[in-house]
């Protein structure tokens, strides 16, 4: 990914997990830069994620603030799974204590 854009996108955090950027979370699946326009593809962690619109808006704002024109699309082309969390993201999550899927939590009592 283009390092400047990567840097900008890394400033956008998961709304409920402030230690985790959307890049590390793995929900940004594709970035293309065409002149001043940045095309971003995002995919939700789960289909019903209520934070998706919010995350999309945050990505747009971050790019606009740095003088880019964002074109963000939400797609299922590439599906999110926990494998997409970066090593850095996994370490941050572990430290934060949020390493599990809520359903799996219920299997661990």
């Amino acid at each position: 990914m283009n390092p400047t854009i990567l840097h900008i996108l890394e400033t956008v955090k998961d709304p409920e997990i402030p230690v985790l950027s959307l890049v590390d979370l793995g929900v940004i699946t594709e970035v293309k830069v065409e002149g001043n326009t940045v095309l971003v593809k995002m995919t939700p962690t789960f289909v019903g994620c209520p934070a998706m619109d919010y995350m999309k808006a945050e990505v747009e704002t971050a790019l606009i603030q740095q003088g880019y024109i964002p074109k963000v699309t939400i797609t299922f082309e590439k599906s999110w799974s926990s494998d997409l969390i970066s090593e850095k993201g996994k370490a941050a999550l572990k430290k934060y204590g949020l390493a599990r899927h809520p359903i799996l939590n219920s299997l661990l009592i």
């Binding site: 209520p50 926990s82 969390i85 204590g97 809520p102």
Partner: protein
């Protein structure tokens, strides 16, 4: 979410008499330096007792607090609201889980705490003893009760007990999302039809008095808690918290064009908010069990516990453990 104004018992002056003075001094010095106290560290009995009481009240407030909003999940208007409200209420139950674990580090089990809740021995935030008649009531909670909770929780996160502070750090991150969601809901009501505006105005009228109660009795009449403040168990006086809330949210409510049902509400020259003194007799009545929904709330909990008894029993038989995907 969580109401502050948790009831602390008045502290008897002799309750520290049996503690070792040297240990006590060292303990207080650590807190003074800003160190966190961990479960295996030495601590005065009174510290342990008051912390259990506070964290437990907080945990109960999360699960009981899930009820008045929870009943609107099945009625939320539209997919967006429905999914966000589900996620929010689920978070609240998750907060309870985190907090019960934090309290357990002090030596009281979750079962005991839930028993005490059902028996009416331990308290929870008074505000959840009021009913949610309309969708707008539910929005009031999501926005303003959560806002009040955040004021409290952000302060408490700077407290002295490590496990509680760490739980609160996570909780606060989620709460800030709740607040955005709740505010969003209210903005839609404010900018919607006349009926929608009226719905929220009525909710505001109903909920303002309990919201003022939320932070607990005025400093003038509440129990002396100096030692708890010194130990960083309690992080601000009730009036300070209330003032902070008013300072942050009254302008936002006014901005949306709603009227707060208190003609005396205003900020004075010294930057403090003045308001009609809330009815503390009602507060006492409700906290002692005689509010509009106390019985109903506890009954729901009691029934849920009783109906789930066979499940918990069946889980006690040995079983395999499972792999987590990320750990």
């Amino acid at each position: 979410m969580y109401g502050g104004g948790n009831t602390f018992e008045g502290i008897k002056t002799d309750s520290l008499a049996q503690e070792d003075p040297g240990m006590l001094a060292a303990f207080e010095a650590r807190i003074e330096r800003g160190e966190k106290i961990e479960p295996s560290d030495w601590m005065p009995q009174l510290y342990r007792k008051q912390l259990i009481r506070m964290i437990e009240q907080h945990a109960h407030s999360e699960i009981i607090g899930a009820l008045p909003e929870g009943t609107w999940i099945t009625r939320a208007p539209g997919f967006k609201r429905k999914m966000a409200l589900m996620a929010k209420v689920q978070d609240e139950v998750g907060h309870a889980q985190l907090l019960y674990s934090a309290a357990e580090t002090l030596g009281k089990s979750r079962e005991q705490m839930i028993d005490d809740l059902i028996n009416g021995k331990s308290k929870y935030s008074n505000i959840f003893n009021y009913p949610t008649f309309t969708w707008a009531d539910c929005c009031f909670i999501s926005w303003l009760v959560d806002a009040g909770a955040i004021v409290n929780q952000l302060a408490n996160a700077k407290g002295s007990y490590g496990p509680y502070c760490r739980a609160l750090d996570r909780i606060c991150a989620e709460e800030s999302f709740h607040l955005k969601y709740g505010h969003h809901c209210v903005i839609y009501l404010a900018s919607g039809t006349a009926k929608q505006r009226q719905m929220f105005q009525e909710a505001l009228n109903r909920w303002w008095p309990p919201m003022m109660h939320f932070f607990g009795p005025s400093d003038k009449i509440s129990a002396h808690t100096e030692v708890l403040m010194r130990w960083k168990v309690k992080m601000g006086t009730n009036d300070e918290m209330r003032n902070q809330f008013l300072d942050m949210y009254v302008p936002k409510i006014w901005e949306l064009g709603f009227t707060i049902p208190d003609p005396n509400l205003k900020k004075n020259e010294s930057g403090k908010w003045e308001y009609t003194e809330p009815d503390w007799e009602e507060f006492k009545r409700v906290i002692n069990g005689d509010g509009p929904c106390n019985k109903e709330r506890l009954e729901v909990r009691r029934v849920a516990e009783a109906r789930g008894q066979w499940v918990r029993e069946a889980l006690k038989t040995p079983k395999t453990s499972y792999v987590t995907p990320l750990a």
